[in-house]
């Protein structure tokens, strides 16, 4: 009988707390979004699974000696996993469109207003009872507006690890919702005529430009913003491996097996931060609301900047590509292309939108560096 009692006392049923049940449902919700709705499944599937595992009573996945504990402290607390992912993303990124049309960097810059406006908004939310965001919290939340997963995870793990779960959920969910969030904003801020604008074909970019570009970006980051060099540096390393053409086997591994392995563990580790105490509170609602605001403001800023530039520039610029400045590579660029095609079936904006799109990645890494430098100290 003793054994049976012991067995019963060791069951989940005998130990469940309500918060754990709710968080498992949240985990199932993330799995649903990933599998049935195809919301950034590469991260949300392991993350949802990690959320379930971490909330299992008795099992202790996230306590000392538990699997998720090791994963979190070895890979996320140290920043190693997001940086490896960023290296892989760098190895997948082609800066050709950006180099061919460097003006689009301004679109990537404008879209970062989503970040800084959200930071302001997060502080304003402190008027809501139950919400008390420090400047560090606000900065970590604001980076959701960067629409870049690894950047958000990296910054949140440094500035506000207790909010990491909610921030990652918001960042990846809204990134998956880009095709739903952006088009209405894009249509509201542009005229039919503007959306029809066709852009000049991009010039070809030489190999030497593509090789020197990541080095130039790194040098500038070193000169002006060393706190962004972990992110920018690993990104540029990946890109240099890609473009140099002399280490194809390293580049291929960084883009495939290494990023895949890291993604599985990153997702599990981020999921392990989805505990009831950390997630089930008013602050999470605030974060989700701010995330939507951040994406919208970022999109609007990009479009408005593109409208302005179109008026000042001699070469026509379709304002839709400004929306791609939020990053969310390559989804945002595809959205720009799609909305453009609706207005003008012969207008293929994809390549033109890739410029602001990858500029947005740089822009949000720079923004993350600024926040680290000014708030992280």
């Amino acid at each position: 009988m003793d054994s049976l009692t012991k067995l019963w006392l060791s069951t989940g049923l005998a130990n469940f707390e309500l918060g754990q049940v709710v968080m498992m449902l949240v985990g199932c919700g993330l799995l649903y979004l990933a599998i049935a709705r195809n919301f950034e499944p590469l991260l949300l599937l392991p993350m949802g699974f990690g959320a379930i595992l971490t909330n299992i009573p008795v099992a202790g996945f996230s306590e000392a000696g538990g699997l998720l504990h090791y994963i979190y402290y070895a890979g996320i607390d140290t920043g190693i996993f997001p940086l490896i992912i960023f290296m892989g993303v760098g190895a997948m990124t082609d800066f050709g469109a950006l180099i061919a049309n460097p003006k689009t960097l301004l679109l990537g810059a404008a879209a970062q207003f989503g970040i800084f406006a959200t930071l302001f908004g997060a502080i304003a939310l402190n008027y809501v009872p139950g919400i008390e965001f420090t400047l560090k919290d606000a900065s970590a939340i604001a980076i959701i507006g960067g629409a870049d997963g690894p950047t958000a995870i990296f910054l949140a793990s440094k500035l506000a690890p207790e909010l990491l779960g909610a921030i990652a959920v918001a960042a990846y969910s809204y990134m998956a919702l880009v095709p739903i969030i952006q088009p209405p904003i894009m249509r509201a801020l542009t005229t039919e005529e503007e959306r029809k604008i066709e852009m000049k074909q991009l010039r070809p970019v030489t190999k030497i430009e593509k090789i020197i570009f990541p080095l130039g970006v790194l040098m500038m980051t070193i000169f002006f913003l060393p706190s962004a060099t972990p992110l920018v540096g690993m990104f540029c390393l990946g890109n240099l491996m890609r473009e140099s053409g002399v280490v194809d086997r390293l580049s291929t591994t960084a883009q495939n097996e290494l990023i895949n392995i890291t993604t599985i563990f990153l997702g599990l580790g981020v999921g392990s931060k989805l505990s009831a105490e950390a997630f089930l509170n008013v602050e999470t609602l605030g974060i989700l609301a701010l995330g939507a605001v951040a994406f919208s403001i970022g999109t609007a800023s990009g479009v408005l900047m593109a409208k302005t530039m179109n008026k000042l520039s001699k070469d026509p610029i379709n304002p839709l590509i400004g929306a791609a400045g939020v990053s969310a590579v390559p989804m945002a660029a595809r959205v720009a292309n799609k909305v453009g095609l609706e207005a003008n079936p012969h207008n293929f904006l994809l390549m033109h939108a890739m410029g602001p799109n990858v500029a947005g990645v740089l822009g949000s890494a720079v923004a993350a560096g600024i926040l680290l430098a000014l708030v992280g100290g």
Binding site: L105, L135, I208
Partner: protein, 90 residues
């Protein structure tokens, strides 16, 4: 609330400093591309690749029924890889 006010000032300063910096940074990058890279592109243009001079770079196996030895090697490599992955269990 004095504290709130101060936080707003800090957040506002951050917003201003941040946006200025982001624009400055990416603006300098534009200059970098338009000067340094543009000059490099002229000085070191890509070599002109005559398709026929590098026939094995992209195997032209589009002509039906004509498979180059490189493709055969790749296929047999793929077969080997395929088998080694699927033939061994657990």
């Amino acid at each position: 609330m004095d504290n709130m006010q101060q936080q707003f000032i800090e957040a506002g300063t951050l917003m201003l400093a941040g946006m200025v910096f982001v624009f400055a940074f990416l603006g300098v990058l534009i200059i970098f591309i338009n000067t340094v890279l543009a000059r490099l592109a002229i000085k070191f243009p890509d070599p002109i690749v005559v398709p026929h001079s590098r026939p094995n770079k992209k195997s032209k196996s589009t002509t039906s029924g004509d498979i180059s030895p490189a493709v055969v090697a790749a296929i047999s490599g793929a077969v080997k890889r395929y088998r080694s992955q699927h033939g061994q269990d657990k």
